[in-house]
């Protein structure tokens, strides 16, 4: 199974990198950009086939290390085996 994890900044947390990306995109001539928020994408290959158990485990990984709950949210998607 593969776990796909998106870690994103909570709203209200300043994201200077996202702001710099937005400015750079505007500099390249792209218009209509309201805001850019940068996050992380992590893939984990997992043994076994119990999807519910895998989801619990990966959420525990996120809470303990992969995300910082002070500033980040996370979303876990488990691909069917």
């Amino acid at each position: 199974m593969k776990a796909r994890i998106h870690v994103t900044l909570k709203s209200g947390v300043h994201d200077p990198q996202g702001k710099a990306i937005a400015n750079a995109l505007k500099g390249l001539g792209f218009s209509g950009i309201d805001a850019v928020r940068q996050g992380k994408y992590i893939e984990i290959d997992l043994a076994g086939s119990d999807r519910a158990a895998a989801e619990r485990t990966v959420k525990d990984m996120c809470a303990k290390m992969l995300a910082n709950p002070v500033i980040e949210n996370y979303r876990v998607d488990i691909d069917a085996p």
Binding site: V13, H14, P16, Q17, A20, K64, M65, L66, N68, V70, I71
Partner: protein
């Protein structure tokens, strides 16, 4: 006072801390590798600056879960003093010793220069040889020093006198141009509620000898020796 310095792969201020402690203490601190799980009896543990584990994932995130940090967290709960400088501050927030988080500098640039700090609480083992409101000059060198906490956490820091140092100008005023990294409320360093853990982004060990261009950091080490010996 028995002191130890934790050494991670990627620490680069451990030897500077060693020199500063030796100078104030008159003997060698113990250097402790990050894989150690049994610590000797200690009065002070220093988590030094650097780029532990290459700052992978987030600054301090990997080191926060290293075997030795589990022991450091336990010792801190028992009242042992913990000084966490720069990357050490990032590690201390990641492992829950201190509240909040250090974000990327608002400028997105690595900032390496002397800054002025205002001493906000001189009534602790770390700061007792400073005066209340004293302005000191100590260097910073970091890319992720932009302190952030939610409003409730910030209020709690204020309510419990947990702010140790604030970035200020030469006169001690909190002007916008004196904040080098965008930190909330100009926060440069904080204590835990019990005041036995201090995390700060500036490097007192780099200002502990006039030959290095400044001596304002020395009082921090002298304070600890006086308080814990």
């Amino acid at each position: 006072m028995k002191a130890a310095v934790i050494v991670f792969p990627g620490s680069n201020c451990d030897r500077d801390i060693e020199v500063a402690l030796r100078q104030s203490l008159g003997r060698e601190p113990q250097m402790i590798w990050h894989r150690e799980t049994a610590l000797p009896a200690l009065d002070l543990i220093v988590v030094p600056g650097g780029f532990s584990y290459g700052d992978y994932l987030r600054a301090g995130a990997m080191a926060a879960h290293s075997p030795v940090m589990r022991e450091v967290v336990k010792r801190a709960a028992d009242g042992v003093a913990v000084l966490a400088v720069c990357n050490g501050f990032q590690i201390a927030t990641e492992c829950g010793l201190l509240p909040g988080v250090l974000l990327r500098n608002a400028s997105l640039k690595f900032v390496c220069r002397d800054v002025h700090l205002r001493v906000e609480n001189p009534y602790t083992p770390f700061t007792q040889q400073y005066d209340d409101g004293e302005v000191v000059t100590i260097p910073i060198a970091h890319h992720d020093g932009n302190y952030f906490a939610d409003a409730a956490t910030h209020q709690s820091l204020l309510d419990h006198d947990q702010i140790a140092f604030r970035y200020c100008n030469r006169a001690g005023a909190l002007s916008a141009d004196a904040n080098p990294n965008g930190s909330l409320d100009h926060i440069a360093g904080i204590f835990n509620r019990d005041k036995n853990v201090l995390g700060l982004m500036p490097h007192p060990e780099r200002a502990a000898d006039p030959a290095l261009g400044g001596n304002d950091g020395r009082a921090l080490f002298d304070s600890l020796v006086a308080a814990l010996s």
